[in-house]
Amino acid sequence: MDALDVARWQFGVTTVYHFLFVPLTIGLSVLVAILQTRWHRTGDEKYLKLTKFYGKLFLINFAMGVVTGIVQEFQFGMNWSDYSRFVGDIFGAPLAIEALVAFFLESTFIGLWIFGWDRLPPRLHLASIWAAAIGTNLSAYFILAANSFMQNPVGYRFNPDTGRAELTDFVAVLTNKVALITFPHTLAGAFLVAGSLVTTVGLWHLMRHRTSPDTDAYRYATRFGAWVVLISSTLVLLTGDIQGKIMTQVQPMKMAAAEGLYTTESPASFSVLTIGSLDGSREVFALKIPYLLSYLGTGDPHGTVHGINDLQAQYASQYGPGSYTPIIPVTYWSFRFMIGFGLAAAAIALLVLWTQRKGRTPTNRWLLRAGLIMPALPLLANSFGWIFTEMGRQPWIVFGEMLTRDGVSRSVSLTEVLTSFTAFTLIYAVLAVIEFKLLLRYARAGVPDVTPTPDDTDDAERPLAFAY
C-alpha cells in the first residue's frame, strides 16, 4: 500500500459518500418546490403540510451535502496536486463558475426559505425555494462538465512548453457530448432517489394510520412520489442508452469492461452473467442475449463492439507499454448493479401505483416491506453508476492524457493521507448514523400541524416562525 492507493480510496469513499446526499438535495428541492407551488395555487392545506414535512427531511439531508461538498473542492489540490497543475487551466473554470453562479444561489436562497416563512411575502418565499432548486440543479451541470472533460477531453491542446493541458475552446468544454448526456442522466437518477423517499414515507404513514386525518395528504404523496420514480426511471433508461452509445465511441474500453467482452464481436451479444478467469483475460462461462450489446453500443444490431484484448493491444502500441484495462469485475458488476437496483425501484413504484388504483388503500405487508427499502435502491444505483464510470476510466485520470498515478500529490506522505482518510471515514460514519436516525425520527413524526395560532403580540415580541 502506498500514498497513491490511499489517496484513491479516500477519493472514492468521500465522493460516494458525498453523492449519497446530493441526489436527494437535487431532486427533493424541486419536489418540495412543486408541493409549495400547489399549495400557493390551490390553498389546500394538505400541500402546505407536505411542503413543511418533506422540507424538514430535505434540510436534514441538505446540511450533509453542503459540508461534504467542501471536501470535494479542496481534495483536488490536497491529494491530486499534479493533476490540478496539469488541467487547472481547463478544470478550475467550471468549478469556480459552479461556486459563483450556482452555490451562492442555492445557499443564499435556502437560508431565505428556511427562515423566511414570516419575513417574506408568500410569492417571494415560494420563489426562494425555486431559486435554491435551480441553483442546486445548475451546480450539477458545471461539475459534470468538469468530470466529462476527464472522460472525453475536448476544447484543449497540450502545451509542451508549460507541460500542461490548456484551454482552447471553453464552449466545447461546456458542450462536451459526454456532459450533455451525463447531465440529464444524473438528474434523472437524482429524482429517482427523491421520488423514492417521498413514496416510502407516504406509504408507511398511509398503511400504518388508516384513519388519520392526514390520510389524504399521504395518499397524494405516495402517488406523487411513485409517478416521479416512474418518469425519472424512464428518463434514466433513455439517457443511459444514449450514454452507452457515446461511451462506445469515446471510451470503448469502458464499454468492453462493462460487458466483460474480451474479444471484438460483430454482432456482439449482451452478457447477463459472465464469469471470467482469475487473471481476467478470458471468459469461463457466460449467459448472453444475442445482438443486444451491438444495439446498445452502436444502435445497429450487427454493429462491431471492440473487445478488451484488442483495445489493450491498440492502446499499448499507441501510448507505450503498460496495462490500459480497468479492473473488470468492478466495472462488470457495478454496471449491472446500477441497472438492477434502478429497475427494482421502478418496479416497486409500479406496484405502489397499482395497489392504489381507483382510490384503494394498499394492505399487503410485503408491499410495505418492499416500500421501506425503496430509497436504498436508487441510492445504490447512483453509487454504482459513479463507481462504474470512474473505475471504468482507469488507469487514466484524464482519458488518453494523464494516468491516475501521475496526478497524485508528491508532497503528501503516506502518513498524512492515512491520517486524512481515517479522519474522514470516522467522522463520515458517525454523521451517517446521526443523519439516518434523524431522518427516521422526523419521517415517523408525520406531517406537522399547520393551523395558524392567533397572535396579538407586537412584532418585536413575536416568536420567529422558524429558529435553529
Binding site: 469556480a96 463558475i97 451562492f104 443564499t108 482552447t168 500529490s409 508532497s411 498524512e416
Partner: protein
Amino acid sequence: MELTTIWFLLVAVLFTGYFILEGFDFGVGMLLPVLGRDDRQRRVLINTIGPVWDGNEVWLITAGGAMFAAFPEWYATLFSGFYLPLLLILLALIARGVAFEYRHKRPEASWKRRWDHAIFWGSAIPALLWGIAFANIFRGVPLDADHEYVGGLLHLLHPYALLGGLTTLGLFLTHGAVFLALKTTGDIRHRAGTLAVRLGLGTAVVAVAFLTWTLTIRSSPAAVVLAASVALALLGALAAARVRREGWAFTGTAVAIALAVATLFAALFPNVMPSTLDPAGTLTATNAASTPYTLTIMTWVAVIFTPIVLAYQGWTYWVFRKRIGVQNIPQH
C-alpha cells in the same frame, strides 16, 4: 491592468469577503459558551447567523475555485503543502455546519451540549488556522524548483505564524461580539458590547505586533499605510462599541479585517507564494497563472455574476435585519 493582476486582486477580494463574513460567524460560534448562559440565549446567538452562515461559507468555495481556475500552480502547491492544517479546517467546518442544522432537532440537553462543542471548536480551529496559513503564505515556505512543498508540519508552526493565528482569532472574536451587539436585544446585546471592547483592545495589541513584524519581512509603501489603517479602524470600532453605536462598530471591525487581509496581499504582490529555499521555486502571479484565454473567460463571468451575487446576498441581510432576543425564540 494585466489579467494576472486583476485575478490576484479578485482572489484577495474573495478571501477578504470570506474573512469578513465568516469571520463574525466564527466569532459567534466561539462566543457561544461565553455569552449564551442558557439554551434560549444560545439559540439567540445561533439564530443571528442562522439564515446567512451557509451563504457566507460559499465565499470560501468561490475563493478556492477562483484560485484553482486562475492560479492552478498556487492552488496545487498551497493545498497539498498545507495538507494537515487544511484537513483540520475541513473537519471543523463539517462538524460546525452540521451542528447548526442538527442542534435543535432533539430536545435532550446532552444532545445540544455535544453540538455546542462542535460549534465552538468548529469555529475556533479555523479562526486560528486561517491566520497561521496566511502568515505562512506571506512569509514563504520551503518550495523546491518544481514549486513542490518540501517542509513538514512543523515548518508551518513558528512564532510569526502563531502570532498571525492569534490575530485572526482575536479579530474574528471581536468582530463576532460586535455583530452580536448589533443583532440582539436586552442582556445579550449589553454583554456582547462590553465584551467586544475588552476583546478588541487585546486584539489591537496582537494585530499591531503581527502587522509590524509583517512589514519587517516584506514591505511596500501601500502596505505601511494599510497596516496603520488597520489599527485606526479597530480603535474606531471600539470607540463606537463603547458608546453603543453598533452599526459603526461593525463597520469598523469589518474594515479592520479587510485592511489586514489587504496589507498581506499588498506586501505579497507580485509573489503569491515565496519560496524560502530555491528562489526559482517562488510562485508569482505570472508563473502560477492560467492562460490569458482562461483568465479572459473567467473575468467576464466574474464581471457579470459578482454584482448579482452581491445584490441578492445583501438583500438577504436586509430581510433579516431585525434584532432578535430570547422573547423571539419559539418553544420548539
